[in-house]
Amino acid sequence: MTTTAGLPREVMGAMDARLSMPYTLTAGAATGVFLAELAQQRIVGTRCSACETIRVPAQDFCGDCGGDAHDLVIVPPSGDLLAWTVTDQGTVALVLLDGTDIPFLHQVVEGDPAALSMGARVTAVWAAEPQGAVMDLMGFALAPSEPVHAVEEAGETATPIEQLNYQMVLDYQHAYGHFYGSLFDGIKNDRRIRGVRCPSCRNVLVPPRAYCEACFVRTGDWVDVPDTGVLQACSVVHIEFIGQRVPPPYVYAEIVLDGTSTRLIHTVGGLSAEALRSGSVHPGSRVQAVWSDRRTGSLSDIDFFKVIDGPADE
């Protein structure tokens, strides 16, 4: 282990990451009926049994008085345009449907937004092929001569849509900052692992960071760390799963690189299933990084750690 001075020649900037989360959203009773009935070109609302407020979309609870008792009603597909805003996602609008008390948030989908006016009569525009979602009602369009219609009791309603499949995809560009950038730059270009020393507890920390968390003091010197270490804990992985990087069996391990006080999570590989069963990898085993042919500037530039001979530190 050597102490190094000066700044690295390059600091890697940022890492692209994507969170893609599949959901099965449960609509609940009232919203489920509302979504299902759009396929019949009917708009379902609720009339609160306590305060008599009529709202669309149908809700299990009254947002005004909190009551959960209500009747389902069929609301006319026509109303007055209360407000609208033109955005890059369309013209988002508030429409007070005939006979209701609470405006309905949706879109105005036809015509020039410049022709809209507050209080204008509008009527529903329906999708040709319903999908079982709110956009089965595409939105509203101007209908100056549309008469005012009345709310009706719902009677028989369609089976509620219970579940909606939903995929949330969020993209990020995570900044490495100076410390991670220097680490990954060293790994990529020089196959060099760099840590920092805390001036208070003297521990060497990998990955490097601006502050020692335990002491809450600014870290001091940069330190070159060898690619050898001691296995502190391990678990043999036999099963396959989505996203796995290495075919099983392999060892998932906490490795304390020589001279450091931090634990690096990586894998131990290059071993037969038989060797793993016989317990040839265990806490205290000496290991060394096997560097990949890839140079990505990440910890996956180490394919895995291999077991080497030598006395364990402890």
């Binding site: 955005t87 890059d88 879109q107 969020l170």
Partner: protein
């Protein structure tokens, strides 16, 4: 000081990083440690003296689940009691103050941060909306602000062009605030004139920035030891409106009024007019006007009067949240600003101020509101 609080709690230190459109060479932890270490400076308090840490941030913005777990060390929370509030940092300050008043600690550290430059913050806002009937029709922070704005301006007969006075004043104030990278001249770029949610242009919308803020709250016996100018927390209140934007009042924020009323009941104030310094948060120019009316600084429809030249010198002297909105932290930034100005630690704000009010907002279309009042003697 109101009669409701037996114990007293004070802000004894606070700090922020510079707020920038993008801190592309810093991680969250780098920004957090910078604010936290500075907040303790000058108090004589060390991290070992901090009893607990309360923090605000968003897993969606941070791009990792329970993101506070990865930031604990940076917040000085190693082996300490720590709680995350998934709301603006002003709610974290209320949580911390409540703990101190309840006697469960003497020194609390409050931290809030975000780096919205690492993702598209519009995704964050739309994830707040109900996913069946609200999110798919295009509800997000911009469209919500546009719908409020159209109705507010129509009701009170205000020309949308008049809103330039609000954004100009905010950005001009930010130009004089060395902690914010916003400069009034930037607004000359045609980018800021684009309509993003009519009648609102981009210059009417809060500009997301990266940054962190930290604040130290202490019980009276500690506060008197570590500073000769404690800034006492005299009142706190919060209130939330309905989730469905369509069901809310069209042109006012009753939840902001209720939050302020709660805080005033504790502090003995009658309206926001009682305070020398007022810092409010808003997602848009019209949102800011509606907050000022809700807390009683102006009559309904009259908040534009506060933007006449020379009016309301104690209002958003920092520039407020329009030029620099640290999402999930902007309300705590307002508290930091008020505490700094009252504590004599700020380069801006009126001289001789002894009372102040900080306001924060959260949720889609500013659904949730929080008010904290402060006083120094």
């Amino acid at each position: 000081m109101g009669t409701d609080m037996k114990n007293r709690a004070a802000v004894v230190g606070s700090a922020q990083t510079e707020f920038r459109g993008a801190w592309s060479d810093r991680q969250h932890v780098d920004l957090i440690t910078q604010a936290v270490s500075q907040a303790l400076l000058g108090t004589g308090l060390r991290m070992a003296d901090v009893d607990f840490v309360i923090d605000s941030g968003s897993d969606f913005l941070d791009g990792r689940s329970i993101s506070n777990c990865g930031f604990l060390g940076a917040m000085g929370a190693h082996h300490k009691e720590e709680s995350r509030v998934e709301e603006d940092g002003l709610w974290s300050a209320v949580y911390a103050t409540t703990k101190i008043l309840a006697g469960s600690g003497s020194v609390g550290l409050v931290v809030a941060y975000s780096k919205s430059s690492e993702s598209d913050p519009r995704n964050f806002w739309s994830t707040l909306a109900e996913p069946f009937t609200q999110r798919p029709v295009g509800l997000d922070q911009h469209s919500a602000a546009g719908l409020y704005a159209q109705r507010y301006l129509a009701r009170y007969g205000i020309d949308p062009e008049a809103l330039r006075a609000v954004s100009d004043r905010a950005w001009a104030a930010a130009s004089d605030n060395s902690w914010v990278d916003a400069k009034h001249a930037m607004l000359a770029d045609p980018y800021w004139e684009e309509f993003v949610a009519t009648p609102l242009r981009r210059r009417d919308m809060a500009r997301p920035v990266d940054g962190a803020v930290a604040l130290v709250v202490a019980a009276e016996h500690v506060a008197r030891q570590v500073t000769n100018r404690p800034v006492w927390i005299t009142g706190m209140g919060s209130a939330i409106d309905q989730h469905f934007l369509a069901a809310r009042d069209a042109t006012s924020f009753p939840a902001a009024a209720a939050a302020a009323a709660n805080a005033f009941r504790m502090s003995g104030a009658s309206s926001a007019r009682d305070f020398d310094v007022v810092e409010v948060s808003a997602g848009s120019t019209v949102g800011e006007l509606m907050v000022l009316e809700a807390i009683g600084l102006a009559e309904p429809g009259r908040a534009m009067d506060l933007y006449a030249p020379g009016s309301a010198p104690g209002l958003n002297a920092s520039g407020g949240s329009l030029p620099a909105d640290v999402v999930m932290a902007t309300g705590l930034v307002r508290l930091h600003e008020v505490a700094s100005q009252l504590g004599g630690r700020s380069a801006h704000g009126p001289t001789g101020a002894t009372t102040g009010l900080a306001h924060g907002a959260g949720g889609i279309g500013m659904q949730n509101h929080c008010v904290v009042t402060l006083e120094t003697s």
